[in-house]
């Protein structure tokens, strides 16, 4: 099971941005969503999730508001800002480039 420090540096930001790009989510939901979609491969620790959220908010890429959840509880929901969307696209492109490159390296047969 991957620990957060096993996440490639900087990918947590991308995961968060991508996760909330469709609809606003609270911290718990973000962690759960990442876990589900990755087939339980990626597990985001709270110890890194919340600082990351606050950092992204501070950078102006996401914004937060308080709202009621379906269960009628008050939760802090994070959504993407316009700057955040641009940033996400930039990081996605980066990620594509990087993963393609890494794949090329690790899948090459050196025979």
């Amino acid at each position: 099971m991957g620990k957060p420090s096993d996440l490639v540096q900087g990918t947590l930001d991308l995961l968060i941005l991508k996760t909330i790009s469709l609809e606003p989510k609270h911290g718990w939901a973000i962690a759960k969503r990442i876990q589900q979609i990755s087939n339980e491969e990626l597990q985001v620790q709270q110890g890194s999730l919340y600082p990351a959220l606050h950092r992204l908010e501070q950078q102006g890429w996401i914004k937060a508001h308080w709202a009621e959840t379906e269960a009628g509880r008050n939760a802090k929901l994070y959504s993407l800002t316009r700057a955040g969307r641009t940033q996400m696209e930039k990081e996605l492109a980066n990620w594509d480039r990087l993963s393609t490159a890494i794949n090329l390296v690790v899948q090459t047969n050196e025979a």
């Binding site: 709270q46 110890g47 919340y50 600082p51 102006g60």
Partner: protein
């Protein structure tokens, strides 16, 4: 826009901290509850679910803290908190704070003051357009690359006609004090005579009027005067219509042709400028004129220099007999450099000294900080263990140390304010500063920079060493004081050694300078200044006293003064020893090979040698009978005898004043004089130089003079000065009397610059010594405190007090010896470049080395003995139990 948003967020975070913290709390609690719910759904019991949820989440407080960090709230908050904490710490340990701030204030203050002078004198460009193109045209000599910045007028004119490298080339020299009369205006003004193009070369033009025309610089041409702004405002009410007005200078008429701008600056302050009119006299053929030139914009210094080399060659071919004494060429010296001369060395030397002082103060501070850090080691370890980040810890120390160094800087600025006034007032060398020397913006920036720089630099070392701290070890040491970590102990040892080395170097140089000063005071003046009063009677040009008038003035005044009560003797001379020079060409009659171009020439009254207590070696002195009608006679000094008559007897030989290698100078040529006696040497113009060949003639046989100095040997009486002035006024009411003072004072001013250097250095060295003593004392007592347990054990195992004493003192003395050796080696390296500031003592003077070593060793022994004695009195039982 995004920056503004971020800033808003940050400010919001800062001011609504409570609310944000609250929100953060809620957010995390929400997360926790979700986790519990999930656990419950997975079938856990409620207690188990809560416990598991808490475990997965980890330290809530830590997450909160990290979130705050992410918001950058903490950065500002932390600094404020650190500042608060730092002020409290510093207030609590007021002893440390006082020592730290004072030593920094001293170092920074002295540096700031000296830097202000350096900034004004060395760094600021001269106030002329494109000052880099201004050069002083100088003579280059073969030996030791000597350069002399004075030319003869024919040489200057040759350069002017034949060189193509300059936009303008002009000469100037002092014009003496003149009596200005214009209507109701009467003032003694200082003048300078200059050629055409003088102001053009400087790049300055008169605000009204013009500079001199060629015909005004020719003998017999119209006389003209250019006023300084000060004189124009002072005496002419800044009247713009003064141009063309006639004024009288020493009775001669001059047309006012120009006024200089208010900001005009020339190193020698003058009230007015007159045309330099060459008359072929000795003043022109002698090397008396400074020549300034402005290089053409398309040429650089090297090209101009190359061109002048060619011009010099054609000069040498044309006037081979004019190129003598090893003159080898023309040197173009950048004008600013030419103004500085010895001042640059003096200032850089001072700057070096204050720099060393600052270094010592800083290493002292660093070593104090190290000691304090060791004492706070447990506090630090505890904080690290409780999760304080190392960066945060580093930040806190930086804030603390910056606070100290800024306080030191502020105090240093205050100190500099006073020091600067004292420096400028006491500095005995002429400072060619084109702008006032003061604490201005660049100086303030410099001060701030060194304050922050020292704060940072000297915090970093101890701080880094503590951040590397091993928490485990440090915590284990809580409650048990062991010997400090070897790394830190080594750092302190290095600091203290460095401090001792720097102090040793300062002490050594100070010692050399003090010794030079002592040697200078021991130097045989050749006369006895004690009990003598001197004054000058400068003759105005219109009252220039020609032969008979001069003789009668001198005779009447001498008799008048001699008759005053209490006066034992009185004498007059044109230039007193150590008071300047007056040299002219002299040749031994019939021996053109025995010619001296610059023989010191003195006209005296017969009583001069007796009044000054200068012994007669051979022959006779002058008498009242050696008057204008009597045969021409002369006295010579022993230096001249050694030069011209090493074996033979000089008396009866004849010399000719105004003749050089059979060439005669019409304005000063005198009939041959017979040598009637030889007198002992006195110092010439300079204390540091040996006596120069000198010829004395009776003032009664002189062709005239433009002034005399008088010396009076008399018992001290309150009214003497007044009586002397009255005596002069009675004979000639227009005659000025200046510089009335004890002769000893005039002699003292001849050593003023050496005294200044020596005393300043002595003060610096004293401070350095005190700082190093504190450093050694602190180091040894600190290590004693650290080793208390060890010492107790040793004593319990049978070590005697003497053993402990020796062990501790040995530690101090080892550092001391290493530092001393390094310092003296450094001083020897530096002192060689200070040779020109030294006199009568070699830079490797063994006596100074010995004295400095003994002094430092003594101080160091005391500084390490005190804590060592304390250590040896430790009761082993107490020390072992002391935990």
């Amino acid at each position: 826009m995004r920056w503004a948003d971020k800033l808003l967020l940050r400010v919001r975070s800062l001011f609504r901290r409570k609310r944000i913290d609250h929100e953060l709390d809620d957010e995390l609690r929400f997360h926790l509850e979700q986790q519990i719910e999930e656990n419950l759904a997975a079938g856990m019991m409620i207690e188990q679910a809560r416990y598991a949820a808490r475990r997965t989440i980890g330290g809530l407080a830590q997450i909160q803290e990290e979130c705050r960090d992410m918001r950058r709230v903490n950065l500002i908050q932390n600094i404020l908190q650190d500042l608060h904490y730092a002020t409290r710490m510093l207030r609590k340990s007021s002893g440390f704070t006082t020592v730290a701030v004072l030593s920094l204030a001293l170092g920074i203050g002295a540096n700031t003051a000296v830097f202000s002078v350096i900034h004004a004198v060395l760094l600021r460009a001269l106030p002329y357009p494109d000052p880099g193109r201004l050069v002083r045209v100088s003579r280059q000599y073969a030996h030791e690359g000597a350069v002399i910045g004075y030319l003869s007028v024919p040489q200057m004119e040759f350069w002017k006609e034949n060189s193509r490298a300059f936009e303008a080339l002009a000469g100037c020299r002092g014009g003496g004090a003149r009596n200005l009369v214009s209507g109701a205006v009467r003032e003694w003004i200082g003048t300078m005579v200059v050629t055409t193009d003088f102001f053009r070369a400087l790049g300055v033009s008169p605000v009204i009027g013009r500079e001199f025309r060629a015909e005004e610089t020719r003998l017999g041409g119209p006389q003209a005067i250019v006023l300084s702004d000060g004189l124009w405002r002072r005496q002419f009410g800044a009247d713009p219509t003064v141009l063309g007005r006639m004024v009288k200078l020493d009775g001669e008429s001059y047309t006012l042709v120009g006024v200089l701008p208010a900001g005009f600056w020339f190193p020698e302050k003058r009230d007015a400028f007159l045309p330099l009119r060459p008359n072929g006299g000795v003043g022109d053929t002698g090397m008396n004129t400074q020549v300034i030139a402005r290089i053409k914009p398309e040429l650089n210094l090297r090209q101009a220099q190359a061109e002048m080399a060619a011009v010099f060659e054609s000069y040498r071919r044309r006037y081979p007999d004019q190129v003598t004494g090893g003159e080898r060429g023309v040197a173009l010296v950048p004008y600013q450099d030419s103004l500085l001369g010895n001042v640059r060395l003096n200032l850089l030397f001072l700057f070096g000294a204050v720099g060393v002082l600052l270094l010592i103060a800083c290493s002292n501070l660093a070593s104090l900080l190290l000691a304090r850090l060791s004492a706070r080691q447990k506090e630090i370890a505890l904080r690290l263990a409780l999760g304080c980040s190392r960066g945060r810890l580093l930040g806190q120390f930086l804030v603390e140390n910056l606070l100290v160094s800024l306080m030191g800087g502020l105090a240093g600025l205050l100190a500099a304010f006073w020091l600067l006034q004292a420096f400028v007032a006491l500095m005995p060398f002429e400072l060619p500063a084109s702008a006032p020397i003061r604490l201005d913006l660049p100086v303030l920036i410099f001060t701030l920079a060194i304050a922050v720089g020292t704060g940072l630099a000297f915090s970093l070392l101890p701080v880094l060493s503590s951040v590397r701290l091993d928490i485990q070890a440090a915590l284990k040491a809580v409650g048990r004081s062991t010997t400090a970590g070897p790394a830190r102990q080594r750092a302190r040892s290095i600091l203290v050694t460095g401090e001792v080395a720097l102090s040793a170097a300062l002490l050594m140089v100070a010692g050399l300078l003090m010794q030079s000063l002592y040697r200078m005071h021991q130097e045989r003046l050749g006369f006895t200044p004690q009990g003598l009063i001197m004054f000058d009677t400068p003759f105005a040009a219109d009252g220039h006293r020609g032969d008979t008038e001069l003789a009668s003035f001198v005779r009447t005044l001498s008799e008048r003064i001699q008759s005053l009560p209490g006066v034992q003797s009185v004498a007059a001379i044109n230039v007193l020893p150590l008071d300047g020079q007056n040299n002219i060409p002299v040749q031994r009659a019939g021996h053109p090979e025995q010619s001296i171009g610059g023989m010191e020439y003195r006209m005296i009254t017969p009583s001069y040698f007796e009044t000054m207590s200068i012994p007669l070696r051979r022959g006779r002195l002058f008498t009242a009978d050696d008057g204008g009608a009597a045969p021409s006679v002369a006295l010579v000094n022993e230096t001249l005898v050694r030069r011209w008559w090493p074996q033979a007897h000089p008396i009866g030989n004849r010399i000719v004043v105004g003749r050089f290698e059979e060439r005669e100078f019409p304005d000063i040529i005198e009939p041959p004089r017979e040598i009637v006696g030889v007198v002992a040497d006195t110092k010439g113009p300079e204390l540091k130089a040996p006596a120069r060949p000198t010829v004395y003639i009776p003032v009664a046989q002189a062709r005239g003079s433009d002034g005399l100095s008088w010396v009076v040997r008399a018992g001290l009486s309150a009214g003497l000065a007044q009586q002397l002035r009255r005596a002069v006024a009675d004979i000639d009411s227009t005659q000025r009397v200046i510089r009335m003072q004890p002769l000893t004072e005039m002699v003292a001013s001849a050593t003023a610059d050496s005294r200044f250097d020596a005393w300043l250095l002595a003060i610096f060295a004293g401070v350095a010594l005190a700082l190093s003593a504190i450093g050694i004392y602190g180091m040894v007592s600190f290590s004693v405190a650290q080793r208390r347990h060890e010492i107790g054990t040793r004593m319990a195992l049978g070590a005697s007090r003497g053993d402990v004493l020796r062990m501790v003192v040995r530690q101090g003395v080892t550092l001391l010896t290493i530092g001393l050796a390094l310092g003296i080696a450094g001083a020897l390296a530096v002192a060689r470049s200070l040779a020109s500031l030294l006199y009568g003592v070699r830079s490797s003077d063994p006596a100074s080395i010995l004295a400095v070593s003994l002094l430092l060793l003594g101080v160091g022994l005391v500084a390490s003995y005190l804590p060592a004695r304390r250590a040896s009195r430790v009761d082993p039982m107490v020390a072992l139990r002391y935990e």
